[in-house]
Amino acid sequence: MVAFDEMTGSGQELRPAYDALDRWLKEAPAETLALRRSQAELFFRRIGITFAVYGDEESTERLIPFDIIPRVLTKPEWTKLEAGLRQRVTALNMFLADVYGPKECLKAGIIPPDLVYRNACYQLEMVDFKVPHGVYCHIAGIDVVRVDADTFYVLEDNARTPSGVSYMMENREVMLRLFPELFAMHRVAPVDNYPDQLLATLRSVAPRSAPSDPTICLLTPGQYNSAFYEHSFLADKLGVELVEGSDLLVKDDVVYMRTTQGPKRVDVIYRRIDDDFIDPLVFRGDSVLGVPGIIGAYKAGNVTLANAVGTGVADDKAVYSYMPEIVKFFTGEEPILKNVPTFRCREPEANAYVLDNLEKLVVKEVNGSGGYGMLVGPHANKAQIETFRRKLKASPEGFIAQPTLALSTCPTFVASGVAPRHVDLRPYVLSGANGISCVPGGLTRVALKEGSLVVNSSQGGGTKDTWVLDA
C-alpha cells in the first residue's frame, strides 16, 4: 500500500508547499536536528507538559514525543477543509438539537431510532430541555486523514471533551523559539488566538440571566487526569479559574465557586469531566469528581455547561456511519468531507463480510476511545484477530469496521534520519451563539513507528506543528 506523501506526493516530485522546507532539511546537518529535538524536549519537560498513561505505574507522567519537522498545508487546501469542518459541526449541532427535541431525523428514517435511544450517551435528562442559545457542541475536535492531494476523510468526530489543543499551541511556541529561520522563510498563519476565540465562544453562550461579564470557569477532574496539563494551560490562557468538583457548590439551583471571600456565582462552565461523572445525584452516584446538583442548576437555566450534556450520542462510532446522510438532511448540502466507508456490524450482511476479512480491516468498538478497543487487521497477530472474531460474534452491535486507509505520510525525524511517517489531523472547531470559528491547522498526530497507522499518544504516537501557509 503506497501512501500519499505530503512532501513528495506519490512519487519523486516535490509539492510546492514543501519547497523551502525541503531545501532547509537538505542543508541542516543531522546533528543540528538532533540538538534541536533535545532542546524541544527539554522545553516541554520544563513547562511540565506531560500526559498520564493509564495503567502505566512506572511513570505516571510522560512526554508526548514531539517531531520537529512541521506538517505544511497550503491556503487552498485549508480553505476547503475548513468549509467541510464548518458544515460538519453545523450538522452535529443540528442533529443534537433534533434528537433531544423534535426527532425529525428519526421520523424521516435518516438513522435507526434504536441507535439513538439505546445509546448510553443519549442522556434522557436532556430530552426536551432547551440548551442556552441552542448550542450543544461548543468545542469539537474533528479527526481527519488525508489519502491524496484532494481528499480528506473524517475519521472520527469528537463532540464530548476533545483534548490536545494545548499541544497545538505549545508545538507552535517551541517551533517559534527553536526555528526562527524557518518562520522567516514561510508565512505561517498564527494559532495563538485560539484562547481568545474560545473565551468569546464561552461568553456568548452564558445564560440570559447572567451579567454582561459572566463568570466562567474550567472544570477539571484534577491533576491525575491525563489531560490535566491542558486544563491548567487553557484556564491560564483564558484567564478563568481552574476548578475541581469540590470547588463548586450548588445551592438552590445556582452554582457557586468556593473562594477565600465566600461563594461566588458561576455562569459558564467549560467542563472537562465526562457526563457520567459530572453530577453524582443524577449520573454515577460513586463519582467524587463531580458537583452534586449541577444538573439541577443547568436545567433551571442558571448555568451553561460546555459542551452540553449528552453530546456523546453525536460522536458515537455507530452514529458516525450515518453522518453523510445527517449532514445532507440538516444542511441540505452535499457533504464536503467524506466519511471513511464503514461496515456496521449490527447489520448481519456487513458483519459476515467483516468476519471474513478481519485481516484487512480496522475494527472499532462503538463507544470506545483511545485506540484501546481497536483491531488494526493488517498489523494484528492471529491471537488478536481471533479475540475480535469472538467479540464480533458475541455482540456485533458493539462494533464497526473500516478498510485500512492509506493515511498520508509526512517527513519525520526518526532514529534513522528523516523518513515518511503516517499522520492525521485534529482541527478544533468552536461553536458559539454568534457562529463557528476555527483556527487554521490543528494538531497533527504522527505514528512514529515505521508503517504504523496508530497515532494515539497512548499507543506511541507523537505530534507535529501544523502550518497553514498564508500565501
Binding site: 434504536d114 435511544y117 439505546r118 443519549y122 457548590l249 439551583d253 445525584l281 443524577v282 439541577g296
Partner: protein
C-alpha cells in the same frame, strides 16, 4: 383499595454536615390504576424543596439545606386509591420512547448465565406475553427474596449467581432477562400494602414493567411471583434502581452517617399493626 402510606427516612451524622443536597423520588403520579388523594413530603429541617419532573416523568423534589445539620428526617405521608388492572399501566405519563428501556445498564447487565437461563425459561412460550409470564415464574422460582434491611444491591449478574437478593435486584434480574429477549423493561419503585395474596410483607418494594406491543406497559413482580394488583403503589420508574432511587443525596462534612428507614403501607381504615 385505599392505602395509607407513611415513610420516614432519618439520617444522623457523626459530625454536623455543612451542606446537604438530595433528590427525592417519593411522590406517585395518577394513572388508571391509582389515584393520589393526598400526599405530602416534609423535611425535618429548613431548606429549599423544589418540585420538578425527570426524564421518565417522575415527580422529583430537590432539597437543599445549609448546616450545621446533625440530623435530617424526611417524612412522607399519603393516601392513595388503587384498582386492580392485572398489572397493565394505562393513562400514565410517558415521556421517552420505549426503545430507551432496551438499554443495558450497569445494574441490569447480562451475562452468559442470565442469557442461558432466559432462553431455557422461555423456550416453550409462544407469545411475548407468555414469555414474560414464564420468565417471571422462573425468576420467582430461582431467586430467594432477602429482607432489604441488612442487605444492599449488587446488580443482576451477581444477584443471579447468588440465587438470593433483595427485591430491587430481583427486578434487575428480570429486566436483564427481558432485555435479552429484546423487550423494553423498566424498574419500578413503590410500595405494597399488606395482603393475604402476597407471600412477602408490606412496605417499600420494587418490581419491573415490560412494554408489549398491543398491551403497553405491564408490571411483573418476580419477588412475589405475580403481576401487580391493587396492593401495589407505583412511585417512580427508571432504567434501573439508580435511575429511580427514592433518595439520592450528597453532603459536605458530616463524617459517618446512621440511616433509619420506617415504612408502613396499610389499607386505610384497617386496624393499625405495629411493625
Amino acid at each position: 383499595m385505599r392505602i395509607r402510606i407513611s415513610h420516614t427516612i432519618s439520617y444522623e451524622y457523626a459530625e454536623p454536615a455543612r451542606h446537604i443536597a438530595q433528590i427525592l423520588r417519593l411522590t406517585p403520579r395518577d394513572h388508571d390504576g391509582q389515584h393520589v388523594m393526598s400526599w405530602r413530603i416534609e423535611p425535618s429541617i429548613d431548606g429549599r424543596l423544589r418540585a420538578s419532573q425527570d426524564a421518565h416523568g417522575n415527580i422529583v423534589h430537590t432539597f437543599y439545606a445549609d448546616g450545621p445539620i446533625s440530623a435530617l428526617g424526611i417524612k412522607v405521608d399519603g393516601l392513595i386509591e388503587t384498582v386492580d388492572l392485572a398489572g397493565v399501566i394505562r393513562g400514565g405519563l410517558e415521556r421517552v420512547p420505549c426503545d430507551v428501556y432496551r438499554r443495558d445498564t450497569l445494574l441490569t447487565a447480562q451475562d452468559d448465565a442470565l442469557r442461558a437461563f432466559t432462553d431455557e425459561a422461555t423456550a416453550g412460550a409462544g407469545t411475548p406475553l407468555s414469555q414474560m409470564h414464564a420468565l417471571m415464574a422462573a425468576v420467582h422460582e430461582r431467586m430467594t427474596c432477602l429482607d432489604a434491611s441488612g442487605h444492599t444491591g449488587v446488580g443482576a449478574p451477581a444477584a443471579f449467581a447468588a440465587g438470593e437478593a433483595i427485591a430491587q435486584d430481583i427486578a434487575h434480574v428480570f429486566m436483564a432477562c427481558a432485555r435479552h429477549l429484546g423487550q423494553p423493561a423498566r424498574y419500578v419503585s413503590g410500595y405494597v400494602a399488606r395482603s393475604d395474596d402476597l407471600p412477602l410483607g408490606s412496605g417499600a418494594h420494587a418490581w419491573a414493567e415490560v412494554y408489549l406491543d398491543g398491551y403497553g406497559w405491564i408490571g411483573f413482580d418476580s419477588a412475589n411471583g405475580l403481576c401487580p394488583i391493587d396492593t401495589h403503589v407505583r412511585v417512580a420508574v427508571g432504567l434501573d434502581f439508580a435511575d429511580a432511587a427514592p433518595v439520592r443525596g450528597s453532603r459536605q462534612g458530616g463524617g459517618g452517617e446512621n440511616l433509619n428507614v420506617l415504612v408502613t403501607a396499610q389499607e386505610a381504615g384497617s386496624r393499625q399493626v405495629n411493625q
